[in-house]
Symmetry: D2
Subunit: 241 residues, 4 copies
């Protein structure tokens, strides 16, 4: 039996859809969801991102409970990685003449899941420390904001402006000014287009509601007590090379 | 006469507002709008970004008129830079106890203007070439997408999905896969959080409506004929070091 | 041959996808795109919205060219109606165990296309008049804003804040205050949740760039010269009954 | 002493800002924040919205704790009403020549706070019942979706697609089809432009995280057990008159 090109494409889509029906379980823990045909796709569509473990002992943070941190890591972060894999595989199996809105809506989902993955990794990566800033990052902050206090004041206020909604506060190295700058970011779609993230604070309610309810200020206090500034310094030094 | 700290803050705000009333002219061409007190603020709030000139002769692009390119550069890009300056100065003069929504709404405007500035500079920077891809970038694209055709197909479809609305298509170097990936981006707020932009296509209607009306496909064809791939290669090589 | 329930679902999806491959032509003019199986679906998924013709002679508006108005109607409005039909049919054929992001991304596309359809119909519906406000609407505006001038000033400024981006300005009847209020709306996803739109101004660049380039102010002047206030009054009177 | 018009405007702004400095306390409970000069403004800028009490006994809902419901009402809903008042007063005191971005960013905050107020009132208004649908609404749902099950399946999936992020699911009466339709809504900015909301489900994490952590499905089950369908029927009958 010979397949026309169009039939071959349809077969691919069906394969992808069947695989999605069979394997897609966004609530399942562990492992990485994959579609049957994904391994024959180019790397961009293979969807083989692996969740990273928490880089600290979640029982040992000040003011952030193990239950909250594990739920955040397992449900929100790991869920995003798995979803990203599925989305990329679905993208790789779209027909060449898919309607633009079909491509666009999946590419939007891909951006959301990609940023959720990246920002969560950066966020967990800059937690687990003693909260005492020193070194390169304090020099960088003072050069732009005059003092750590001025900077922290705006960083905290930006966080509070996201209380009860979703978003991130991002201290990034901005190549335009060759220095650091704080950015407000509404949800996983938002980010600064040209810059390298150094310190990330998650303001999605799943970052704090279990422990703090609507008290975003209490969460921000706890966040600052646990910042791993050594990692922030490593990121800053990498970008300044 | 002595001022209390609170009166001093109020005076600052009034100064800023008066300056804004006097100088803010978002339609004016040339120069950079500044507020009276801005020079005494830390650099983060000084708002002294300068618009860059077009890096090519706008009379010489294929399929994109000089009128369109000049309007795009003077109104949309330069307007964003001036607005960014005003916003940062306003941020620098907010009182310490400003309501979070006041900080948040200005930080959002700052993100929009910052990304508009950065993405426009990258966009104009990757125009003015002969549209013939070669070198590092083709290796990077093939490594992830299998072929330039597969990549270009998705890049174009992502662009078409933004036709009639606003947004950007961004080919970025993604540190997660140590390779390139194309991202859909809705408006100036959207971007990929962790990655370095290499090739940028503006899909805001002001990029093409004057020349192409609603024919976004015609614009995308013209865009590809003018890509400055040498610049894309320079960006790619910088990030791979 | 007997089909299991799962196979039956898959067959439906394949049917839908094949139909989409065959019929989806977002650029085609006239007619309404339909999928093969759509007629057997419940009305919510049948996707049988029909574009309405322009309610005025596009050759006769002041300061808005026939070419612009026809392109706006045929490409942006009619395109949205056709896209909505396709999206609703696709939604109706999703398997019961589709991943939530698949449902969510299509529901988002449905919201965008629905609002684009509705707002464009309201916008074209309130054009074609002589621009002279009188009657019910002026009473309603004065009751809330003190004077037509105060209201028009804010309505115009809200429009200018959307220049170079996309969005709508919406004068709505708000049941909370039993009166009218002007709302800023960023793109087709945004709207006021509880209220009835009375006067709509489209600020997407496709509403003006062909005639006015980046001169949004010139477009707003033209808009006000062509408002069909009789229709605005009809809408206002319907909601006040 | 005579004031020029410009000085008078500046005085107004300063007044507003000082009042904002003094009175703005987004965390305070009870009462309504007001600015000194607000009473002399037209109603649109007076900002005198009053929070409504919960229309049910929060100790008596099934699967939603009193603590969660009170926090939701006092922090998220009441906070939005107070913020709306402040924003409208600030809008009313902007100078006539404010930069468009200043108007636009406040109008955006106004839309967010307005929709948050309206949707929360509708949400609390359709809770407190026995969860048993009957009457007008079931006829309307069946007419569009074929069965309550088909409709509920999509409504729930749409909710799940918002898990871990913010948003609303809205069953609205849509004048285009003279029937009901379910809409996905991302955050407080999103809504259906032309339609009347009948049944609202809040998917912001503050609606459930205190009781359910990341288990959005558990929350959706609880939501359906508490729907006040009589109120939904009242809304439906009002719109069908």
């Amino acid at each position: 039996m010979e397949l026309t090109r169009r039939e071959a494409i349809i077969t691919l889509i069906v394969g992808a859809t069947v695989a999605a029906l069979v394997d897609a379980d966004p609530a399942a823990e562990g492992g990485t969801t994959t579609m049957a045909n994904a391994t024959t796709l180019p790397p961009a569509y293979r969807g083989n991102h692996e969740p990273k473990p928490l880089p600290f002992d979640p029982a040992k943070l000040r003011g952030l409970s193990e239950k909250l941190l594990r739920s955040h890591h397992e449900n929100n972060y790991t869920g995003a990685v798995k979803r990203l894999n599925l989305i990329q595989q679905q993208l790789g199996q779209l027909p060449k003449d898919a309607a633009p809105y079909q491509v666009g809506s999946l590419k939007r989902e891909e951006l959301i899941a990609t940023n959720s993955m990246a920002l969560h990794e950066l966020y967990f990566g800059n937690l687990g420390g003693d909260g005492k800033a020193s070194g390169t990052i304090t020099d960088l902050v003072k050069a732009q904001y005059g003092s750590m206090e001025t900077w922290e004041q705006e960083f905290r206020q930006t966080g509070l402006s996201l209380a009860g909604g979703p978003g991130w506060v991002i201290l990034a190295f901005d190549p335009h000014v060759q220095g650091v700058h704080t950015y407000w970011s509404w949800d996983h779609t938002h980010s600064v287009a040209s810059g390298t993230p150094l310190l990330i604070m998650d303001m999605y309610e799943h970052s704090y509601a279990m422990d703090y309810g609507a008290n975003a200020k209490g969460y921000i206090d706890a966040f600052f007590q646990n910042v791993q500034w050594d990692e922030v310094n490593r990121r800053a030094e990498r970008v300044r090379q």
